[in-house]
Assembly symmetry: C2
Amino acid sequence: MSTANPAATAGSRRMPEKRQAIARAASTVFGREGYTRASVDAIATEAGVSKRTIYNHFGDKEKLFLSVALETAGELTEIIAGLADRHLHKIVDLEADLTAFAVDRAKAVLSVGEHYALGRTIRAEAGNIPPDVLAAWLAAGPLASHRDLADHLARLAAQGLLTVDDPDLAATHFTLLTFSGAADQSFYGAVPISDTALRTTVTTGVQAFLRLHPRP
Amino acid sequence: MSTANPAATAGSRRMPEKRQAIARAASTVFGREGYTRASVDAIATEAGVSKRTIYNHFGDKEKLFLSVALETAGELTEIIAGLADRHLHKIVDLEADLTAFAVDRAKAVLSVGEHYALGRTIRAEAGNIPPDVLAAWLAAGPLASHRDLADHLARLAAQGLLTVDDPDLAATHFTLLTFSGAADQSFYGAVPISDTALRTTVTTGVQAFLRLHPRP
DNA sequence: GTCTATAGAACGATAGAC
DNA sequence: GTCTATCGTTCTATAGAC
């Protein structure tokens, strides 16, 4: 039998595929059910492994959650960075491009049931997460995306497309006006938000942002 | 023995004080622990009643939670309406008054451990709350406060203090710029936010709001 | 005497851990 | 697969109010 068949390597020393399957399953189930409601049984079933395998890889439920939280935060940050690059690198129509970015970002973060959608669970559990882990999650996730956005806005300002005194503040304004409202409406993805509602919220948000930071 | 002693009336027909004690305790414990972590035992202990009494009054844990959620939403709405009236009824210094209102409102909503601070628990459980109950909570809480704020802003605009085309949109801007950031930073009250951090966030938010809706 | 409320034990199911 | 703890819920017995 060839080692190219993953099933044939079931007893091998390292099992990164199983670990990854568990991580994806955990992300999905934690994101869908929340921390306390998500049972290790359900995660094991979703991952197609036994509970014992989960405990061997991650120790206990809390460590599993925290590990997966940090990993998916980094993945989502990269996804958002890709969206920003796609929509904001070369500006064609400023308002349209900002809107397209904001819509795609909101969809990425607020998507329900996706494997990187446990942001709402992390927020719901913030009070029970060790402060250093919470800080690490913030740094790998929301803060990293915030910095990336601030850099883009500063660059657009340097190109004469926006007025930006403080890129950090501008990024805050952009996120508040084009994302926070949608996040609040959808309870961070727990309740679906219609495409048209999202688009309306984002569009008016971008308009307000552009009034705060107009082309000079 | 006198009936003025509450303990002496233990077997009386109606016991609104006990019901209220349970409601307050439930609000506190649900707000502090979240829905699934809060045990009926803990609520009973906090309220100083037996578990059975809770079931007699509220049926089951879920009904208890939903009842208390709706009741406290209304209470918080009234508190915020009072704050708005106090700070916005007679304007002395527009920016200072708006800032004071926003600071007090954020403190009221994000106060940790207070008996009306289970907003974050409701948001965390939004996906598990029956849609009609969630809608009722929104109507009694956030939406009612939103409308009240919109009315105040419209009135200030009529007095020539602000430019407001759409009071609804203006209220949205105000909340996003002066509240949502603080709520996000503190994870809706799960993690304490320092007074200076709150004040800074709110102050810059009010400034942005006034740039969007300047005195004509 | 009957009714209601209470306290506390007990039950059954679930879920984390090994 | 098993063990054990926890938790939501129910049952039983006691006591005061009308």
